[in-house]
């Protein structure tokens, strides 16, 4: 199989280069892209990428495969490269530390901005804050995010304004806490999102939805945030 691999080592390289590699894949088996990377790394240990659980849970190995973001560990080679040539590049729009490893600081800063924790200033009850099954149901499709950054780095609005637009991953979590019946900071959370960039830079192009390895829908969550902003603003 033909593989084109993005390489950059700040120790030695002025600018990134693309390595064209040839790899013999085992017959009759559809490997995951991460398996291909492991095979390549056995040959050339200097290839750098993040990986951990190798089953789509930890969110470490988000990369760009033939132009599309996804988790290398759960993307079959046949799906990533239906025409036989596999192109592996780092997640778009974030600074590259080395090879397929990107600097996630900007992504985490946006996540931190939306205060991804429960805020409740009332005195806690003796045991725990209860939630009805119906209210708990509202968090489904929101809490499952693994912060792999596939969505935000597939979003042109995030490419253009990574410092101002919160991005799909952060906004999904923003709505996760706006929708939580136990959270009392709804008004403050909404006020922090009201500027022209944080949430309103979303143009609903659904790149986030189409790459999310967990099948989540940040676009829908963003729509719900806008509706909440509207009903508060009028």
């Amino acid at each position: 199989m033909q593989i084109s691999l993005y390489r950059f080592d700040p120790d030695t390289d002025e600018s990134p280069r693309t390595d064209s590699l040839e790899l013999d894949l085992p017959e009759g088996r559809d490997l995951m892209v991460l398996d291909v990377l492991e095979l390549l790394k056995a040959e050339d240990p200097s290839i750098a990428y993040r990986r951990s659980c190798r089953e789509g849970v930890c969110g470490s190995d988000g990369i760009n495969m033939n132009g599309r973001n996804g988790l290398a560990c759960i993307t079959p080679v046949s799906e990533a490269a239906p025409r036989g040539k596999l192109t592996l590049r780092p997640l778009p729009g974030l600074p590259v530390v080395r090879d397929l490893v990107v600097d996630m600081s900007q992504f985490y800063r946006q996540y931190e901005k939306i205060k991804p924790w429960l805020v409740n200033d009332t005195a806690p009850p003796a045991r725990e804050r209860l939630q009805s099954p119906e209210d708990r149901e509202k968090l489904n499709g929101l809490y499952e995010c693994i912060l792999c950054a596939c969505c935000s780095t597939a979003c042109p609005s995030f490419w253009w304004n990574p410092d101002k637009f919160v991005g799909p991953a952060g906004l999904l979590q923003a709505y996760r806490f706006l929708a939580d019946s136990r959270d009392t900071a709804t008004a403050e959370r909404l006020a922090a999102l009201e500027d022209p960039f944080s949430v309103f830079r979303c143009r609903g192009i659904m790149n986030c939805v189409s790459v999310c390895p967990k099948g989540l829908n940040p676009t829908r969550a963003i729509g719900k945030i806008r509706s909440m902003l509207l009903s508060q603003g009028i």
């Binding site: 590049r89 974030l94 600097d103 609903g204």
Partner: protein, 126 residues
């Protein structure tokens, strides 16, 4: 931070892998820019046509000549697309069609309607 770190952003490569929903949205933007520039032409034609009989004849001649006809066609096609895509956007604001499947259908539908309008306009103009 490290200002010398490269950023991987090969736009043509990324654009080629984007879903139809992204292309539909990008066209919404492109048609908006076409309309913004085209409004100058529309202002000019309106000014001419409303000035007097002679002006109206000249405006009609401009629209009938190939460059003017092409401009009119491009503007009206863009308008058709921009309006249909705008309606889709408004529906999305009301949470209609916010699943990936529905959005894809919506995007194809928008493009199809615009192509229909483009053909219809071409027939009407020529």
């Amino acid at each position: 931070m490290h200002p010398d770190r490269p950023v991987n952003l090969p736009l043509p490569r990324l654009a080629a892998a984007m879903p139809v929903t992204a292309i539909a949205s990008f066209l919404h933007r492109v048609t908006g820019i076409v309309l913004f520039a085209g409004t100058l032409f529309l202002c000019y034609v309106l000014d001419l046509a409303l000035a007097d009989e002679a002006g109206f004849e000249r405006a009609a001649a401009i629209i009938e000549a190939p460059p003017g006809a092409l401009a009119t066609w491009a503007i009206l096609t863009s308008l058709a697309y921009h309006v249909v895509a705008g309606v889709k956007h408004l529906l999305l604001d009301f949470h209609v069609g916010d699943s990936l499947r529905a959005a894809k259908i919506g995007a194809w539908l928008t493009i199809a309607l615009a192509v229909l309008a483009a053909v219809g306009l071409a027939v009407w103009l020529w």
